[in-house]
């Protein structure tokens, strides 16, 4: 334990000395990292399950059937959401790196990423939720 205690201020301290820490730049990086790892692990599993087409139609259909259950249906919403964010934010990173105005507009581009994400999720969700409801009803 340090004997020196940091000076206390009444207000919640703001992160000092940087425009990065605690702001959209940092949170987009955190999300990019978490989604990247999640997608990587899913990809490992996804290649294994797809490889079952080489075993038999029966084996493949049995395993892909588990992707159609309501719980997995919800998981797929999370997965598609993660991939869409990683992809759109990846394009934002590329623009920050290569576009001369990229750094200036990085924060604006973050909100554009969020906006496009909402639009694309709205395109995916109706079909997926309809499928989940059909499964819940056992149809």
């Amino acid at each position: 334990m340090s004997a020196v205690t940091a000076p206390r201020s009444e207000k919640k301290p703001r992160p000092g000395g940087t425009l990065y820490r605690g702001y959209t730049g940092m949170w987009s990086w955190v999300l990019h990292r978490i989604t990247g790892v999640a997608i990587f692990f899913f990809l490992l599993v996804h290649i294994l399950d797809t490889a079952l087409v080489r075993v038999s139609p029966e084996a493949y259909n049995a395993v892909i059937g588990t992707y159609k259950t309501p719980l997995m249906g919800l998981g797929e919403i999370g997965l598609v959401g993660a991939i869409l964010f990683h992809a759109l934010n990846g394009l934002r990173i590329i623009l920050v790196d290569f576009w001369s105005k990229g750094v200036k507009y990085q924060r604006t581009m973050f909100w554009v990423v969020i906006g496009l994400w909402v639009v694309l999720m709205a395109g995916f969700l109706p079909r997926q939720i309809a499928n989940i409801i059909l499964e819940v009803n056992g149809q």
Binding site: V37, F40, R54, I94, F124
Partner: protein, 150 residues
């Protein structure tokens, strides 16, 4: 002879000999990313949104796609680009967080081996896949409709 640069002379990066692999890795993340957006968005639309969505996926659906060289090439590119991109990204993260040199080596080795194994497996599956395999009678109904009667 002066050994100290004149003040405010421009910064010069020390040139090390050999290929700058970190730079090419960095470039690869961006180049593969741009292509992957197209490949993955197309993949998600065709498999998860068009038609019946996830409920339409079964052996016959996959066979219908891989009967065409178009989707074979599409999926092959996606396999290689995504696994190398993902594995290299994992390498970056391991380098950032692993506190011990040995642990870092083990984790990077595990990521490398799993990515290499799955690239080989996936490539073999795409190229050796038969959309109309000979199957036991009770599985005949699972084959795509374009298969000749057995």
């Amino acid at each position: 002879m002066s050994t100290v640069d004149a003040p405010r002379s421009p910064y010069a990066r020390t040139q090390r000999s050999g290929t700058n692999w970190e730079k090419w890795g960095w470039m690869y993340m961006r180049a593969s990313g741009v292509v992957l957006v197209v490949l993955i968005f197309g993949h998600l639309f065709v498999n998860m949104v068009a038609g019946e969505g996830v409920r339409g996926i079964d052996f016959a659906f996959v066979a219908g796609k891989w009967a065409s060289p178009f989707w074979q090439v599409w999926d092959l590119l996606m396999l290689w680009l995504a696994l190398i991109h993902g594995a290299n990204g994992m390498r970056t993260i391991i380098n950032d967080y692993s506190s011990s040199v040995t642990l870092g080596k083990v984790l990077r080795g595990a990521v490398f081996l799993s990515a290499a194994a799955l690239i080989i497996l996936g490539t073999l599956v795409i190229f050796t896949f038969d959309p109309c395999p000979s199957v036991s009678p009770e599985q005949l109904g699972l084959l795509p409709s374009f298969c000749p009667p057995q």
